[in-house]
Symmetry: C2
Subunit: 247 residues, 2 copies
Amino acid sequence: MNSLAALSPVEQQKSASQRVGDQLRDLIASGNLRAGERIPSENELARALQVSRPVVREALRGLSMLGLVESRQGGGCFVTDLTADRLLQPLSFFLQLHDHSLEELFRARALIDRGLAEDAARNASREQIEQFKTMVGLGFDLVDDPVGFRVMDAKFHALISEAADNSFLTSVSQSLYSLAMDSRRRASEMKGVLQQSARDHEAIMAAISKRDVEAAGEAMNKHVEHIRQTTLMAEQLASQSETSYAS
Amino acid sequence: MNSLAALSPVEQQKSASQRVGDQLRDLIASGNLRAGERIPSENELARALQVSRPVVREALRGLSMLGLVESRQGGGCFVTDLTADRLLQPLSFFLQLHDHSLEELFRARALIDRGLAEDAARNASREQIEQFKTMVGLGFDLVDDPVGFRVMDAKFHALISEAADNSFLTSVSQSLYSLAMDSRRRASEMKGVLQQSARDHEAIMAAISKRDVEAAGEAMNKHVEHIRQTTLMAEQLASQSETSYAS
DNA sequence: AACCTCCAACTTGTAAGGCAAGTTGTCAAG
DNA sequence: CTTGACAACTTGCCTTACAAGTTGGAGGTT
């Protein structure tokens, strides 16, 4: 019998600033510190927590990088609005790092948007379906106006999220959407791309208005697949011209 | 014409520690600092960047909270392994904060796990399918051992994630999984629940081994639906006994 | 009395120095 | 060759100090 198995790892107590940061984070999570609220000054916190000001500062800086708080010189430190895109910003670094996972992200978006479209087909109100119809009509008018189309496209996806009524999935979907936006911008300049998107939107709208859950999911799946293909194509073209420029 | 329109917002220069943090983060993102690599000491960085040591410390602390670096007292500061679950840890706070209704989270998990099961059916290797089979067999032996079954269950879902080979979705799925774990613990004590889960696992495994993508997704969907029902039921029972105790 | 100006107090940003605690590599003794 | 202790280095934490920005109120003006 190995006596090593009986040994518990040495309790590595976290650093003081880590503990302070955790406490403040829990205060925010539990609602004791609400969005926009002012946080006691660094000196007050230091006195209250029996630590030095640098410790408090490091903790606040950490929370600031996580998007939980925001400090204004001379003004004090405040809890941010705690919106989804702010809190999910570290996510974009993760994507930047593992950039080989573009395929993964498109797959994720396909899954999630398919689900959102299904739920939209289940829950959409009369007014929302009317909005879908006007948007689809508008889309066909904007196939030669990339900027205008992208604005409409964002609203279209937002409306689906709204109809699906799932704030968590909406947050994730929007993060994925905005992450691919730079690449998408290039792709939307290409010929025929927006035409295809307009047709896709029409198919999605038709399925939702008919309350056909499965068809809505399937149409959205195809839409994301089209976006994936054209976006990757645009990326390839961009990197090719880049290398030819470098050589 | 409004002359205000010509004014650009005051260039609010970020704080020094923020800039230092951004620089280090970019070094990591660009691969100049690789996973596990040692970061120059705080004093060296301070000299190199022409700032004071507290500034460097705050930057490193921020990156540490983001899960990018890890400092050991006396040992130095190192880039972490940069695994997905470490980098996506802020996500669990986000889930905790916006207490999205349990319904939303279950719906999200249903969507994502359905997709993972579909991809697992597409990609699973021979060895992984063998592992699935042994796990399913083990599951039926553990229907009277809630603790053992939960361990197996976690491995089962982890294996699906592994087979699906999508680190992003895996992280989200695991976050959702562990988030509902406390509630799940209660539910798994109930009669028949684990029996149903074992049968669900069998159906999922069968679909995957047959490479039936759609059936795998459908089986997983039903599985999550069963989990949802029994978990919510257990929650209700718990809250009922709680109120009766309080009165 | 209402309003404006200015300043003092407060808050965050940054710098510098110092000591404690932990790790690591080296070097000498066994 | 192994082992032990020591020295150098590194992070953790504290203190003090000043710069830069914000805020609110005192005091004078209208």
